[in-house]
């Protein structure tokens, strides 16, 4: 009992005087805890918002969706519902070109024509406010802000959609249940359904989706409605969802998304753990004498160890508390940062669960990582109080050390598995981070050892002294190289991958490669389109036919039977039900490679059905092989085919690629549209030809490369932001370790600085020694991070993205240089009082 009380008193008394160490130690833990608390609270905020606005996510109780106009049973069902007085709304969406008449700019958009009182729940927010209700009062359009920016237009301007003109009445601020990033390719334009016909856009070949939204008495009625009509809806290829099932979808999607973020937070926390271990090491080194005295005065090993374990715990707690506060601040900024990924408005509030978890996890990580260095407290000999030069006993492998290592590994494992979207992902993450750390650690050690070995013996004194400082007893060199190197590694890898993706894109769009796609061309428009493109500088362009079809049967078994067949082959339902856009031609194109069978040459033998070539992944999804027979349904006309070859397709290339290619002389007379790719160098002529084409042929859709570029940058930007934040965390942890390393050797440095200055060294020389030391330290970390980043980037680009790899050497060099400069600055700053103070003041300090 005496022991416990003493431990507590000592911890509280010592803690009062140790504010500086607390700052250092707590700082390392705070950042990671902040990330976890922010993400955990944010997840709870969103889940709550989703639940509270469950019905407004859909705006209705039930939604029916189809890729063709409702017909047969589905149509009958909707008619009878209306007769029974059930509120039914319709939304028909299709892609089209929007032309801003004021600027002449065009953009592919997603038009949504609304009929009825949708939404029944929730509000569609507009700016200026309350414009949704007057959508049907005239030729009004409500549009995404991004569209206006792209077109250079503003509210009040005229927008042409097909043959009709609309006034932009407001910008869309938020539509419940829609995630901003989904509309990146096709910005939304809402109009009233009454005017769709005027546009002349809903023709053959346009990819329209049809939605019906129902208001029912409640969730139970919705579930019952869907259950009752499911078999008929399945037959009609109509998908049905209730508000509750939509909520569930969102919840799952969002849980996976935030858990991905949580893994990033966890990385920060584990790096914080390493920094904490380093800070505890510093702390213990400073306490050696105190520990020895306590032992002399009769403190047992256990009492003294417990006293410092408690101090470590208190510091961990302070760090975790600071982290919680920081996390709550970050939580407030997340809704706007992640607005692109959020389906609804989120109101942050303080939540007990994530806060308690943050405190607990922070405290635990601080203890688990602090335990190893703390264990040395047990081995400090009391004799040390009598004489300084007591040899420290060699580290021994006792049960406590094994337990400490187990605590660290167990912590990584348990946290990863509980924070990850799936246990398997967590395991992989734990393994990944342990391996990465191990590789970084081993490389750091090798680098440090090499520096020592290759150390220039005839270098100037300042350089030799600076480098020698890295190898002073109890140095933190490897820790610093590891944590700073980790940050550089993350930033470097991110940059290498991002650069390669963008470079690939730039390469694909450079030179004479196509930068404009024109699709939905009707056969009678082809000549005019090609002529206009040629006049704009595109030269001769080819038009590729697209013939929409569905699979009617495989091997003589009808699609309905296949869809209900749950026994043998689990064929992809998506692949069975989808509408295919097939083409026909007599040659392979550059982005394709034949991997099975043979390409057709010459005329088709009369005995065989039409020959087709199937893309390899689709063949897997459908479970079909060379020689299998597929029956296709072209707008009611069935065509028998046989698989004559299987192709591999490089989808990454900006080309017209197809899942299924028919041999010529089969589909020529089937209803079809055409697509053409063009290259027009001059951006202005490209914009002009788009305007002219849209004015002339309002049904055409055009995709300019600049749109794709914009989308790609937006997507990469969102992912990169998260990774950058994590890298910033790890670099901050690295800074904590640098400061800690400077603190460890403070006493030695004091003596050296006195000695040097007594021997006549000028302040500038002392600074230069420091500069050399930290510059070398920063360079080692940079080299480590950059080299491993190049390696990881190469692996990712080459084997994961399967792209050509180029090394962005100048940015990596800049990163390395920047890191070195920052490390040097922090190091000198942390030691500044040694430089600033007069030798006499330092001497007095030492005498005390």
């Amino acid at each position: 009992m005496t022991g416990a009380l003493f431990v507590l008193r000592l911890a509280l008394r010592e803690g009062r005087a140790a504010r500086r160490q607390i700052g250092l130690y707590a700082g390392a833990i705070s950042l990671g805890v902040a990330a976890l608390v922010a993400i955990g609270s944010f997840r709870a905020d969103v889940t709550e918002a989703i639940h509270a606005e469950s019905r407004s996510l859909m705006g209705a109780d039930v939604e029916l969706r189809s890729t063709s106009e409702f017909s047969g049973g589905a149509r009958g069902l909707l008619d009878s519902l209306r007769q029974d007085g059930v509120p039914v709304s319709r939304v028909t969406s299709f892609t089209s070109m929007a032309l801003a008449t004021a600027t002449g700019k065009t953009r592919l958009v997603d038009v949504r024509a609304v009929e009825g009182d949708f939404p029944y729940y929730g509000r569609i927010e507009t700016a200026p406010a309350n414009r949704w209700s007057r959508l049907r009062d005239g030729h009004h359009a409500l549009v995404d802000p991004a569209l206006l920016v792209y077109l250079g237009a503003e509210v009040g301007d005229t927008l042409r959609l097909g043959d009709a003109a609309f006034v932009v009445d407001a910008e869309l601020r938020r539509i419940p249940g829609e995630i901003g990033i989904q509309t990146a390719i096709g910005p939304r334009v809402y109009i009233a359904a009454d005017y769709v016909e005027e546009t002349n856009l809903l023709q053959f070949g346009s990819r329209a989706r049809y939605h019906a939204l129902l208001k029912l008495p409640g969730a139970a009625a919705a579930t019952e409605f869907v259950a009752t009509h499911r078999p008929m809806l399945d037959r009609e290829r109509v998908r049905a969802a209730t508000a509750a099932s939509r909520e569930e979808d969102f919840r799952e999607w969002f849980a996976a998304f935030t858990r991905f973020l949580a893994l990033l937070g966890l990385t920060a926390l584990l790096l914080g753990g390493i920094a904490t271990g380093s800070a505890v090491h510093v702390f213990v080194r400073r306490k050696l004498d105190t520990v020895a005295v306590l032992r002399c005065l009769g403190g047992t090993q256990r009492t003294v160890f417990a006293a410092y374990l408690l101090q470590a715990a208190l510091m961990g707690l302070v760090g975790a508390m600071v982290g919680v506060v920081l996390g709550l601040v970050v939580q407030r900024s997340l809704p706007s940062l992640l607005a692109d990924f959020l389906p609804l408005a989120v109101h942050p509030s303080i939540r007990v669960g994530p806060v308690a978890a943050g405190l607990g996890i922070g405290l635990w990580v601080a203890l688990a990582f602090g335990l190893l260095p703390l264990l040395t407290v047990r081995n400090i000999a009391p004799l040390r109080a009598l004489r300084r030069s007591v040899e420290e006993p060699a580290r021994r492998w006792d049960l406590a050390r094994v337990a400490a290592y187990a605590a660290v590994l167990g912590t990584i494992l348990v946290l990863s598995v509980t924070q990850a979207p799936l246990p398997a992902v967590g395991l992989a993450f734990a393994l990944g981070i342990t391996l990465t750390t191990a590789v970084l650690w081993a490389t750091a050690r090798a680098l440090v050892a090499a520096t020592r070995k290759l150390f220039p013996a005839n270098a100037p004194y300042v350089v030799r002294q600076g480098i020698a400082n890295l190898f002073r007893p109890h140095n933190q060199t490897v820790s610093v190289v590891l944590t700073v190197g980790f940050g550089v590694f993350l930033l470097g890898t991110l940059h290498v991958v991002q650069r390669n993706l963008l470079d690939q894109f730039a390469f694909e769009t450079s030179g004479s490669r196509p930068n404009l796609v024109v699709f939905d061309i009707q056969p009678d428009q082809v000549d005019d389109v090609r002529a206009r493109l040629a006049a704009a500088g595109a030269g001769e362009t080819a038009a590729v036919p697209i013939v929409p079809a569905r699979i009617a049967a495989i091997g003589g078994v009808s699609i309905d039977e296949l869809l209900t067949d749950t026994s043998s082959l689990r064929r992809s339902r998506w692949a069975l039900r989808r509408e295919y856009r097939n083409t026909y031609r007599d040659t392979l194109v550059a982005s394709e490679r034949l991997i099975q069978g043979s390409w057709w040459t010459g005329a088709r033998p009369d005995t065989l059905p039409a020959r087709i070539s199937v893309e390899e992944d689709l063949a897997d999804e459908l479970h079909v092989r060379l020689g299998d027979r597929l029956t296709w349904d072209f707008q009611g006309v069935t065509v028998e085919t046989v698989i004559a070859s299987v192709r591999q397709v490089d989808w990454a290339r900006f080309e017209t690629n197809f899942f299924v290619v028919f041999e010529p002389d089969v589909l020529e007379s089937a209803p079809q549209t055409l697509v053409t790719l063009a290259h027009i160098d001059d951006a202005r002529r490209r914009a002009e030809v788009q305007r002219d084409l849209v004015l002339q042929h309002s049904n055409l859709s055009l995709l300019d490369i600049s749109v794709v570029q914009e989308v790609l940058e937006r997507l990469l930007g969102s992912v990169a932001l998260a990774i950058r934040i994590m890298a910033a965390f790890s670099i901050a942890c690295g800074a904590v370790v640098v400061v800690g390393a400077a603190a460890t050797s403070r006493f030695q440095r004091l003596r050296e600085s006195v000695l040097l200055r007594t021997l006549g060294a000028r302040t500038s020389q002392v600074v230069r020694v420091l500069a050399v030391e930290y510059a070398v330290l920063g360079s080692l970390a940079s080299v480590l991070g950059v080299v491993l980043a190049a390696l990881a980037g190469w692996v990712l680009v080459k084997f994961f993205f399967e792209l050509r790899f180029t090394l962005p050497s100048i940015p990596l060099l800049a990163l390395a240089l920047g890191t070195t400069v920052v490390t040097t600055a922090i190091g000198i700053f942390a030691s500044w009082d040694l430089v600033r103070r007069s030798p006499l003041a330092v001497l007095r300090d030492l005498a005390d």
Binding site: E14, R16, D289, G298
Partner: protein
Amino acid sequence: MMIIAQDLEQTYISGGRRLTVLRDVNFTVEERGLVAVVGPSGSGKTTLLGLLAGLDRPSQGTVILDGQNLGPMSEDDRARLRAEKIGFVFQTFQLIPTLTALENVLVPVELQPSRRWPAAEAAAHARDLLARVGLVDRWHHYPAQLSGGEQQRVALARAFANRPKILFADEPTGNLDAETGHAVIDLLVALNREAETTLVLVTHDPELAGRAHRVIGLAGGRIVSDSAGTA
């Protein structure tokens, strides 16, 4: 007898060589004795002190303190014995830098396993001791805010805080100027007489050695002289 040292020998392995720093050390100290251990640097004085206080184990021989044989005791048992019966004064003062003067004096009180002091009583006791060394007004100061002589006086107060039967002092004036050292010696001897403690001190200081009842001379790890001094 308060202290019995029998056939003490201490050898270290240093750089692969056996180094004998103490051999054939035999002596006893009676209760309330005041013994000075003197000798040149490297003669084994501090090693002997460490062995007597149970800070280290002898390679051979026995130390018996107040009837208890240190030999079979574990590290922690010896720590408990020190908490109960032993006080320390160090050459470098060894006050805990993060504790105030009062708190430093309180450490041995709070570490005592056999007696649980009520907080107020412990604090009063520590204050009395600080008053005795003339520093009661400085009770809330940290070691860095005290001069060397003041630090050593706090260390004296701390040494007597657990009412030890034996006090070990390692060069208590070694880091002080002559005048301050003189004052500290006076205080040490006076406190020792009042508390009726057995005192073993290691010193270079002839003045301090002169105040001992008995002076044991060490050289090359052996006792080379053992004479009674003037009281």
